[in-house]
Symmetry: C2
Subunit: 367 residues, 2 copies
């Protein structure tokens, strides 16, 4: 990063994380031991900090726990369905919780609570404010993560942010790194539904061009998103999973960041990819190709993870015992490329565009 005050570079989020944040906070992980002054029993060690660039930070606590902590702000320029009047205040409160507990799930931890920041505009009535808080409460109940506190107060507009906390057994936190060549790459459910919802509703197609049940499922992907909390706990407890990330930035972004962090390539097998009926319906209705929607900028909160092939059966059984399932969709490779093996056998780069904050082509990128 240049220190020149005349430098007007405005990088996007991934570039700032890589070029600025990771440098400023370099060397934290594994090197910080905290709170040792009282006694050795209360020593807390930072396993993964800001430099780890993962979904959450991880602390090694005393006793039999690691603490996992992640923070997500949700009301950005992406919340178009709220502005279109398709989501209400209850829904955005609900969404705030789902987005935050998804980060805990992606670390293989079980949520223990969430703290929420709810700042409201001067014209927000008590009734509307209570709707936001009820959305938060109900999502917390669904995901077994009580809202334990936070900060409320005024602002120019509704601002929603939160921090989720989770615990796992020592050494069981799952990171983006850790996948090894030969590992099976898996997915907890079909992707592209939230992106398809955005395409459908923003197209102005509110009439019944698709079946009502599909329309309901599309809207539910934003109004009642399902964070894969039970699946995340199962992955973490199993002790056999080598890497994990959620698909909140899209399937392409999730697979590519696991590959980059792990130093492996990935081959995704098109014929093994689960396709949601709603995504097919929207693509048919709007004459869109399916694969870019499934891989691209779609906030689905599914989990992508890797597991050694000789542990795949064990993990499948552990999932089944909890009434859960996942789908093997590909394989990690020693070759560094991340590709899709199409139905015709040809390998191509993953389709779709990963979500990037400020993905403005006029914005220069830091060098």
């Amino acid at each position: 990063m240049s220190q020149d005050r005349q430098d007007h570079t405005r990088s996007d989020e991934p570039s700032r994380l890589a070029a600025i944040v990771s440098k400023i906070f370099a060397g934290q992980s594994g090197n910080i031991t905290l709170s040792t002054s009282l006694s050795d029993d209360t020593a807390t060690a930072l396993v993964a900090g800001a430099d780890a660039q993962d979904d959450c930070a991880v602390f090694r606590m005393t006793g039999t726990q690691e603490l996992v902590v992640g923070s997500d702000y949700v009301r950005g320029p992406k919340f178009r369905l709220y502005e279109l009047g398709l989501l209400n205040d209850y829904d955005v409160g609900y969404y705030l919780v789902a987005a935050n507990v998804s980060d805990i799930a992606a670390m293989g931890a079980r949520p223990i609570g969430i703290v929420t920041v709810v700042r409201y505009p001067p014209d927000m009535t008590d009734v509307t404010f209570a709707q936001v808080m009820c959305g938060i409460r109900d999502a917390c109940q669904r995901f077994s993560a009580p809202n334990v506190g936070g900060d409320i107060g005024g602002a120019e507009r509704l601002i929603l942010s939160a921090t989720a906390l989770g615990v796992c057994l020592p050494g069981h936190a799952l990171f983006r790194h850790g996948a090894r060549p030969g590992d099976v790459v898996c997915l907890t459910g079909p992707t592209g539904i939230a992106g398809a919802a955005m395409s459908y509703f923003r197209s102005g197609t509110r009439s019944a061009l698709i079946e009502e049940k599909h329309r309901e499922h599309l809207l539910a992907s934003w109004a009642r998103p399902n964070a894969r909390v039970r699946e995340g706990v199962c992955l973490g407890d199993s002790g056999v999973v080598t890497s994990c990330q959620d698909t909140s930035d899209g399937l392409k972004a999730a697979v590519e960041s696991i590959a980059t962090a792990s130093g492996v390539g990935v081959v995704i097998d098109e014929r093994r990819l689960p396709v949601a009926a709603e995504v097919s319906a929207v693509c048919e209705c709007l004459d869109l190709p399916v694969l870019p929607l499934m891989f691209g900028d779609s906030v689905d909160f599914e989990l992508v993870f890797s597991v050694p092939p000789d542990r795949l059966t064990l993990l499948t059984e552990l999932f089944a015992a909890d009434g859960l399932r996942f789908q093997a969709i590909g394989e990690a490779t020693a070759a560094p490329e991340v590709v899709l093996r199409q139905l015709d056998g040809r390998q191509v780069p993953l389709p779709g565009t990963a979500w990037r904050h400020q993905a403005d082509p006029t914005v220069s990128t830091a060098t």
Copy 2:
């Protein structure tokens, strides 16, 4: 709270906390045990949740720790000195950390880390963004609370929020409740400096009407605020303190909320109150009374706490051993009134106005 959709009541923050938030999240504290499915060793219990309405939530972890978690959003309508150009982007990053670790200090816990949400407007350059992050980093270093992660990305304007984490020994977390009649009420340092700074700089008095060193101290109360982290750790470790709160909403608000939560009254003794030279200087310069500034809406991050009289000497010695000090300023009483005993012996209500978000007299209050 009325469920009538025609109800346009817009209550202020304390009313919403009392009438809406505390009801929606009623009955959490002491009644939630989390993550028991793995084994009893990993059970985590919620000691204080959103219903406790304290500075932080408290979890009982396994091992020898309680986990303390609090969240503060800082860029509200109050950040006038930034808009006046007296604070820069580094300063507001620094402030974000100080405000958040102060909540940990107020719980008697030692910080172990902070997660930060930094959302920036499209025109913020990499240089300016890095200044915010460097302010965060340097404050984290000062208060021994590493910035371990969070969320960065775009927004319409700069939005800063954070969550601080701390640990203390089981049962050692300090709450607003717990003060008993006869307890000595104490303060870690003079209050009113941040409020005096606001009065001084907003008056347009930028020329040297007060001594340069006073001007510097006034600005430093916002640019380099000192969260009382070492004092908070000392209070928590001591095991003799019965209640604690920081003065981030002003001294009057802190004393009154300890009194209300504890079911006691408080008599503050004017002759024992520490007066900062800068506050006197500003009051003289602007012809303002001193006491309303010292008690009112001034974000000083000092700690107010109570201690039984027979433990006062022990606590003073523990502080002195760490090179720290505090000031006894009054006493908790069985009579419920919270009053100031003036120099002339008369008792009057505490002067000053406590900070209230949206303290707009045109806004109706919930009944």
